[in-house]
Symmetry: none
Subunit: 208 residues, 4 copies
């Protein structure tokens, strides 16, 4: 109608707008984690963010758009938080151990949202790339790690690389799920130790 500059949902230009947007993102993440995608109510998200129902649509085009943005954040965090730094002095075994520890930590923070994302991706194709990319990143990281170990002569790669990476990565992810999401009682140190040992033995890495 009027030729007024129509605000594109999601591009706030004032600092107040940025704050509102952040509040909605945080609230959305909370709600998705608590009840999942389908049962999540925009009303609840808006309430938690301290804004009115209608305001939500100033910042996000739809519920799916909110999940998309929340997921982007989480996937990003997950990737960054699980990167084992180039800390000198860590041998191969210690690096695997560090990786497992970081993964379990990061999982504890992000698993609920990631499960929601995976479920929602079944119906909403626009979400699928996100999950696949994340998985791909992790798989590739594992492949790289295995390749380097083989290059360093620490293990022999007599099993197919990618399936091995998927299986071992899955072992850690699944353990994390059972432990942290389903409430299996395991001591944190026991968890890290067991996973690291199984991993090392599976690929034939002998402790230095």
């Amino acid at each position: 109608m009027a030729a007024s500059p129509v605000a594109v949902a999601g591009r706030p230009s004032t600092s107040r707008g940025r704050r509102t947007r952040a509040a909605l993102l945080a609230a959305g993440r909370e709600v998705f984690e608590e009840v999942g995608y389908g049962p999540a109510r925009i009303d609840l998200v808006a309430d938690r963010a301290g804004v009115s129902h209608g305001t939500f649509y100033t910042y996000f085009d739809s519920k799916a758009a909110l999940l998309r943005e929340v997921s982007r954040t989480v996937v990003g965090e997950m990737f960054v938080d699980t990167r084992v730094g180039d800390q000198a002095g860590l041998d191969a075994y210690a690096r695997i151990e560090a990786a497992n520890r970081l993964y379990l930590d990061a999982w504890a923070r992000n698993s609920r949202l990631l499960r929601v994302l995976e479920q929602a991706a079944i119906d909403d194709p626009s979400l699928r790339p996100l999950t696949l990319e994340m998985r791909e990143d992790f798989v590739r990281r594992l492949e790289d790690g295995l390749t380097r170990l083989a290059g360093d002569g620490l293990i022999t790669l007599d099993l197919p690389l990618r399936p091995t990476a998927i299986a071992l990565g899955g072992m850690v992810e699944h353990f994390a799920h059972v432990w942290l999401d389903l409430g299996e009682a395991v001591d944190a140190e026991v968890a890290v130790h067991t996973l690291t040992e199984l991993w090392a033995r599976a690929i034939g890495l002998t402790r230095a």
Copy 2:
């Protein structure tokens, strides 16, 4: 006077009733697998079963009740179909291989419904026992297997039993998910071989 029968939904006494009930169960499973729990429509289930909307409620008290019954069936099948028989002549390694093969097969048939069940269990407490029992059954089976191997002197149990079982079981389950649900391209024999090898090495089982 007369005892109030109050026909509990779902116990048909005629063969026609039994047929209808079975059709609804089958249709329900299909629909749940295709769209998940929340988005599943009773209308669609009834249509697929070739009965009217109202008839659904002759057999099931609610949508949740339908999922409950479908899940019971699937959980039961899953458990039965993954049992490695006492086939004489199979050594330890071959038994692990057989178990992995059976699990991957069974997973291909049942995974979608099981994921739906797990999601739905978040909101519906009546479903939770089902998922937990199933998981527990599998974990215990693995524990028993490990214990027997140790008893036979084939492996040394220097890692905590239950976490080990959870981790290795999770490795297979997760691999199955990535392969069969997410479309990772892996050759079936390669899959079985890789998982079996990783498993055997992780627990220190050397081929006879």
Copy 3:
């Protein structure tokens, strides 16, 4: 279709049929009294009568037909049970007292169904004659009584006959409702005495 003698709903020819019919009537009355007309479920009526849902329609064409029949019975009982016999030796005051006593008794047994009938009659025109006839019978009885008292010189009819009958009849009916349906705590003898006194004074009847 076929030329078989179609059974008219409600005319049982066997003794078994008569028993079933009676059971349905009794059950129907119970249910109507407990929950009212709208919320009454045919299922519940059939259950209480110890027959299947479908059998109900062998005896009654519809829920409304059931209420019609139940009501006929109750209205009839109400009328018969409130007739003051020609017991010799009762003076005018004692006859009024007896009438009130009988009315309160009969009301205790039948009020709930009568209220249901009155409500249902608002929507279902076929029920209206029943309620109006019953009311008319009672009003006429009161008019006759007042006329006789005047004829006997015991009272002076200086008020319009019919409105007087309606008002005094209503006084007793309403009192019965508050006392017996709404749980107002009043001693039975006090109730009868008060109503009788008010009645007698209102029409100017002085005790012999």
Copy 4:
């Protein structure tokens, strides 16, 4: 963070909202009076109020909530509209007459809704206090009136106070019902005169 407002259905903050709410209340009253509680359709209420089906739920949590609010209004009106002012110069008899006249007037306006309320209260306990309170208010008002008359020496209270109040109040209420709801043909002045006379004679009030 922010207090969750969770906008309790029904407290509009704009004038438009107030108008819509009022329209729904009015429409609700109409519909309840016409068809009763059970058969009342939200659709019809919304249509009459000129809003969409969904809007109804912006203002009322349920059909029962609507009846609750409508009833509150009516009960309040009923009580206010039947109060005999302290008009100087009215003797006892005239005051009774005025009270009867006011009651019959108020009844004509409110009876249908009150009968609906009474019926609905059978199933919905939340409605019961409303009916009981109203009845109690009226009974107490009558008791007070009788007590004052006795205090002024105009009548002798030789009958139990509360039962007398209930009976005489019931006489007027029931007469109003038969006359105004059931269509009994009575002239308005005859009605008032008959009720007032019966009342006065019943309590032994002689005209000044």
